[in-house]
Structure formats: structure tokens, C-alpha cells
């Protein structure tokens, strides 16, 4: 397996995939900077909660785009060069699938760590109130990863199965937008949509007073059933994607 992963790394040489992740992180950094720029000292008391509320919302669109691009970039080289028919005479198809997933996960981990660094960095620079909520930040990293990897494995399954990469890219973008708007959907419906889980697993809620136009953030309980469901989705999508890829005749 290590050889297969190592070769995935070599295949991405010159493909500038990290650049895509970096650009998306820059967008997230700019957005965070802009969102926090109009906050006064009173608002910054709830700075950590503000970020833990805003970042998952933005992730609904940012992370699916990263997942779609990474999965597509890792798979299109195989379709273009018709390499699956050679690779599958050397190593098992399930190992190709697993190696791509592991290497793709590194990019998703990089993106999740990147946004965590943005949050912590800005929190320290702008002196957010109260102690650093390390536990909530760690949970945020974990939830972001679980949801992102589930979306990624969906994207990888489609990207490896379909040669035309416009299909997974379009699906990724549509999914992202549905995820963003799913915040307004009933909870039952939200939990049926992969891309809405950034919102489902949010640890912070918001009250908005219409008269004073003031926002107040509060900690919410973790939605364990939501976490359980997304893990089930992950296992199912991984299994189905792998079976489809293994059975596909090349």
C-alpha cells in the first residue's frame, strides 16, 4: 500500500493541487478578515464562537469545491492516459481506490488544518475574549474532517467512475450550494444531504435580536445522531464507490 500511495504522490507532481487548497484558504482568510473587521471589542468577546459559527457555514461551499477539485485532479490523469487498464494488471483495483483516498485525504486534512490555523491565528492577533476553546476547536477539526472526507469519497467515487470530469465538478458545486441553503431546511431533511453536515455538526448557535440588531452566540450540544449518520454515510459511500470501481471493466 505504501508504494501505491507513494506513486500517487509522484503522479501529482506539477499538478498544483496544493495551490488550489492554498487559494481556497486565502479566500477563507480574506472572508474571515472581512467578517471580523466590523466587530468592536464587545463583539470580539464572542470571537471564538463567531468563528466556530461562520467557518462551518463557509465550509458548506469551500470544502466541497476543494474535494471536487482534488478528487478530479487525482483521477483525470488516469482517464486521460488510460492508465487504469495497466494499473489493474499490476495491483488490485481496491488498492488503487484506497491509495487515492488516502492521498486525497491529506489535502482535505491540509485544508482543515489551514482553516484551524486561520482561526487560532486571528484569535490571538485580535485578542478574542476568554480562554482558547481548545476542546471546541479540536471537535471542529474532527467534524470538518469527517464531513469533508465523506464528501471527498463521494467525489472520488464519481471522478474515478466517470471519465468526463465535468460531471463530478458540477455535482460538487451543486452539492455545495444545496449544503449552504440547507441551513434553512428542516433538520430531518438536512440530515439527508451530505453537504449540509457542516451545519448539522455546528457547535455554536446564534440569536439575532431584530430590534437591537445585536447577535448573541451560544454553545449548542453536539448532534451525536448526526455524527453517527455521517459516519454511516462515509462507510456506505466508500463501500459502494469501491465496488463500482472494482467491477468496472476498463
Amino acid at each position: 500500500m505504501s508504494a501505491a500511495i507513494g506513486m500517487e504522490v509522484l503522479k501529482t507532481k506539477g499538478r498544483k493541487i496544493w495551490l488550489v487548497v492554498a487559494v481556497m484558504m486565502a479566500v477563507q482568510l480574506l472572508w474571515a478578515g472581512w467578517a471580523i473587521s466590523n466587530k468592536d471589542a464587545n463583539d470580539l468577546v464572542q470571537g471564538w464562537m463567531f468563528f466556530l459559527y461562520q467557518f462551518p457555514m463557509l465550509n458548506c461551499i469551500i470544502m466541497p469545491v476543494i474535494a471536487a477539485v482534488v478528487a478530479s485532479r487525482l483521477s483525470d490523469v488516469e482517464h486521460k492516459g488510460q492508465t487504469f487498464k495497466l494499473l489493474e494488471t499490476i495491483i488490485p483495483a481496491q488498492r488503487i481506490f484506497a491509495a487515492k483516498f488516502i492521498w486525497g485525504s491529506i489535502y482535505m486534512l491540509g485544508a482543515a488544518l489551514g482553516q484551524l490555523a486561520i482561526m487560532i491565528g486571528m484569535g490571538f492577533v485580535l485578542h478574542f475574549g476568554g480562554p482558547v476553546p481548545w476542546g471546541a476547536l479540536a471537535s471542529y477539526l474532527f467534524f470538518t474532517l469527517v464531513v469533508s472526507l465523506t464528501i471527498y469519497i463521494f467525489q472520488q467515487g464519481v471522478s474515478m467512475f466517470v471519465a468526463n470530469q465535468m460531471v463530478p465538478m458540477t455535482l460538487g458545486l451543486i452539492g455545495g450550494f444545496i449544503g449552504l441553503f440547507s441551513m434553512f431546511f428542516p433538520q430531518g431533511l438536512q440530515k439527508l444531504i451530505l453537504w449540509s453536515y457542516y451545519g448539522v455538526l455546528m457547535q455554536v448557535g446564534m440569536n439575532w435580536d431584530q430590534t437591537t440588531r445585536a447577535t448573541d452566540f451560544y454553545w449548542t450540544a453536539i448532534d451525536w445522531s448526526g455524527l453517527g449518520l455521517i459516519l454511516v454515510f462515509f462507510v456506505l459511500i466508500y463501500g459502494i464507490g469501491r465496488i463500482l470501481f472494482v467491477r468496472k471493466e476498463v
Binding site: A4, K13, F84, T89, I91
Partner: protein, 304 residues
Amino acid sequence: MSNIIETEGLSKQYGNVYRVKDVDLSVPEGAIYGFLGPNGAGKSTTLKMILGLAKPTEGEITVFGKRVNSKNRLENLKNVGSLIESPSYYGHLTGEENLRIFQTLRGVSKQNIAEVLKIVRLENQQNKKVSQYSLGMKQRLGLASALLGYPKLLILDEPTNGLDPAGISEMRELIQSLPQKFGMTVVVSSHLLSEIDQLATRVGIIREGELVYQDSLTKLHQYSKQHLAVRTMNNEVTKSFLSRNGVAWEAEDDYLIIPQMKDTMIAEISKALGQNNIGLVRIEERKKSLEDIFLELTGTAVSL
């Protein structure tokens, strides 16, 4: 001589159509087996099934004496190199990097990369991105990938497709040298009769998914031997005359086809026919070309 590949009743059905039907292939060790057939006859599908890239609907495949199943497939393929339809490559990487990927995954020595690059004469182009390679160079890189593990069996599907005459000749020379140099058995498919004629020692001809001929190329050439076509005023009486004198004949339209023979024999037959009041009106020398035989077997126009 033992067979490296044997298939038994190998079939592949897509929907209601059999793309490959009851193919019993036998590839002897050390042979260059030419798998010949028109485009769409089922050559690639058959080869893909041997490599486990397509699942047979029916039939068995035996490679190196072992019946292939999903469990031992990759173990068996360790001694098989393949180039199916078109070369597999990563265009954004150099030739050397491409080979490094397949060498690492195959778990063979790194030294093999330099050796196979030399065999396919790409050593001076190894640091160039493959996307900048010509089609011929890509084909040679594909062959190099297939050769990396010095396999006992090499399966090449239309390796000269799209190459110019010089490229075709170069590829042919390369393939021809492999059994002698490395003791490889080579299966090479093509829709070009002339190519297989120059390359193969044994040939299998496939038509609409069915294997219509399989034997040595020498035997196929025997079919193209010269024969005589005779027309007389009374072919019926001539038939019994020929049979009585031990001359094999075959009726074809108004002619009787008899084997080629010495002039003295022909003169004697002619004289004897005259003595029996059978007027000899035509005697022609005919030769079935290899193309005619191919056409008869495949029912399609031959590509030259």
C-alpha cells in the same frame, strides 16, 4: 510444446450480443501468436478477459497452466506484460517517471528502467514529458512499461496502430527480437494481415467473436499454394476419370480444381482425356492469395 495460454469456450456477452463466442485459444510457449481479425471482431475483448480487465460471461482461461480466477489473477499476471489498445501513460510526467511508477508498483529492480528504455531506444528521451512524445514514442514507452518485469508472456494489442511505416517496421523488429533475446512468448493482435504475416509463427483469426482459424502461419500459407483449374466438355466424365487415376479434384463453378503437378503429368492427362473423347477447353494456373484466404475466413475486406 506446452501452451502458455489456453482458453476454453471463452465468451463475452454485452446485452444480447456475444462480442466473443466460444473461443478456444491456444498459445504455445515461445511463439509469436498473431491474433488477427477485422476491427470490432472481439480481439481486444478476448485479450482483456485474459488479463482480467473484463469478466468472461462463460468459459475458462488458463495461463501458465493455472486456471485464472479473481483470487490468483494478479499473481499470474506478475509474469505478464501488456499493452492494450493504446499506451497507458501520465502525460505530465517524463518517460522515466512514468516507468518508475510502474516499476515501483511491480516491485522490480530500478535498474530495469534504464534497460527497457535502452531496448525501446528511448534513453535519450527519458527526461522529456510524455505529452511531448510522438505517437510512436508513446507506443515504445507502452512497450517499455510492458517489458519492465521481463515477463514470460507479453500481450500487445494493436501495437502498431497509428504508427508511420518507419515506426511500424521498428516496432516489428523490436517484437520479433523478444522471444529470442528474452525467451518471451508474445501475443500480438492486429487487423493488418501483412503485419501478422511478417511477425507471427502461429495465427488465430477471429471473426464476429468466433475463432475461425488457428494454426501455424506455414499451414495458412499452404492454403495459398498454386493449383490448376480445368474445364472440359464433360466435367462429369472427367471427375470419374480423375478419380480412377488417383487425382484429387474439387468442383468450383464450371471448373475442376486439381493440385499443381509436373508438366509431363498434365500432358499425360490432357492426352488421356482426348483419347476418351473428352474435349479439354481450359486449363489455368490459379493461386489463392493469403488475402483471399483471410477474406474467406473473415468475410470482410482485408486491410493491407
